[in-house]
């Protein structure tokens, strides 16, 4: 870093290193690439700012520049929180998904409708997953077809209806719910990326 940002005096180097350590510590929840990007941008700002400061000594110029940036918590926390929330939602973290759905629903009518559709999708994915797991213990749980062509996802045997794939319901249900979960997460992350605040 010293070659990129040449700091001459020993005291100024200490100030720089302390600030850099604080940046590294506060950015550690983020993936490496994001950490590096934000850290380099803040350090670049700091260096430019110190370079244009009028104080006589290099360390005072740096301290002034750090002060002008403000409290690192004020600008790093919102950055970290926003990036983490999006990444967790993309990775399928249930709490992050819930929070993202909630945030996204507040961004206008179209986003609210899309979020509602995604929410319904997540509801059915969870239902199918639970039914697929419960089917291992109760064979009557599954998808039932009537002669009329209607069908029902049911927790009990349906009179006058034939159960669809009773042997394979659990496997198919798990496969559908897991792949559906990832598909919905992908759609949610795309929606988050496109939506306006």
């Amino acid at each position: 870093m010293n070659e990129t940002f040449p700091i001459k005096t020993g005291v100024a180097q200490k100030v720089w290193q302390n600030f850099d350590r604080e940046l590294i510590y506060k950015l550690r929840p983020l993936p490496k690439a994001e950490q590096q990007d934000i850290r380099l941008e803040i350090l670049s700002h700091l260096y430019d700012s110190a370079l244009n400061d009028n104080a006589d000594s290099e360390e005072i110029r740096l301290i002034n520049a750090i002060a002008r940036l403000g409290d690192p918590d004020d600008y790093l926390q919102p950055l970290v929180a926003e990036i983490l929330l999006m990444q967790k939602a993309i990775k399928g973290h249930p709490l992050a998904i819930t929070k993202s759905l909630f945030i996204n629903a507040q961004k206008g009518l179209i986003n609210a409708l899309l979020t509602l559709l995604l929410g319904i999708g997540y509801f059915w994915i969870v239902m199918i997953f639970l039914m697929a797991v419960m089917h291992f213990g109760d064979a009557d749980i599954g998808l039932w077809f009537y002669d009329s062509g209607d069908f029902a996802l049911s927790f009990e045997a349906q009179p006058g209806a034939v159960q669809w794939q009773p042997k394979w319901f659990s496997v198919i249900g798990l496969a559908v719910s897991i792949s559906g979960y990832y598909l919905l997460n992908t759609l949610l992350s795309k929606l988050l990326l496109k939506s306006k605040t």
Binding site: E41, I42, Y47, L69, G70, D74, Y75, E82, K196, T197
Partner: protein, 114 residues
């Protein structure tokens, strides 16, 4: 609380609310990096905000697709991340300008009548 104190509290809030609009206005004139943007905003608007608080805003503009970024490393000097307004950013800025003009006119009318 005296009126001066209230104004002291109100002015920064009022100005901070306009920052995204101001950033996009500045970016419309060309690509710019964070430090330069902070200096320009201070110079043009006298808005006294901690320079670091621009970065969460810039990140949000980027996430919303209103700006793109590119690192540029000059032969001499520090590497800098340049922000550039996108087509969506220009489109949004046009709408922001309309909102601003309408709001400004309405408020000006109210001020003149008061």
């Amino acid at each position: 609380m005296g009126s001066d104190k209230i104004i002291e509290r109100w002015v920064p809030q009022f100005r901070k609310g306009l920052l995204e609009f101001i950033i996009l206005l500045k970016l419309q004139q060309g690509a710019i990096y964070g430090y330069e943007l902070a200096i320009e905003i201070k110079k043009l608007t006298s808005i006294e905000v901690a320079e670091g608080t621009l970065y969460p805003l810039l990140n949000r503009l980027k996430r919303d697709g209103l700006v793109t970024t590119e690192w540029q490393t000059a032969e001499v000097g520090t590497p800098r991340k340049y922000y550039k307004i996108t087509t969506l950013g220009l489109e949004t800025l046009t709408k922001m300008k309309t909102v601003w003009t309408n709001t400004h006119s309405s408020i000006l009318n109210m001020v003149m009548q008061s």
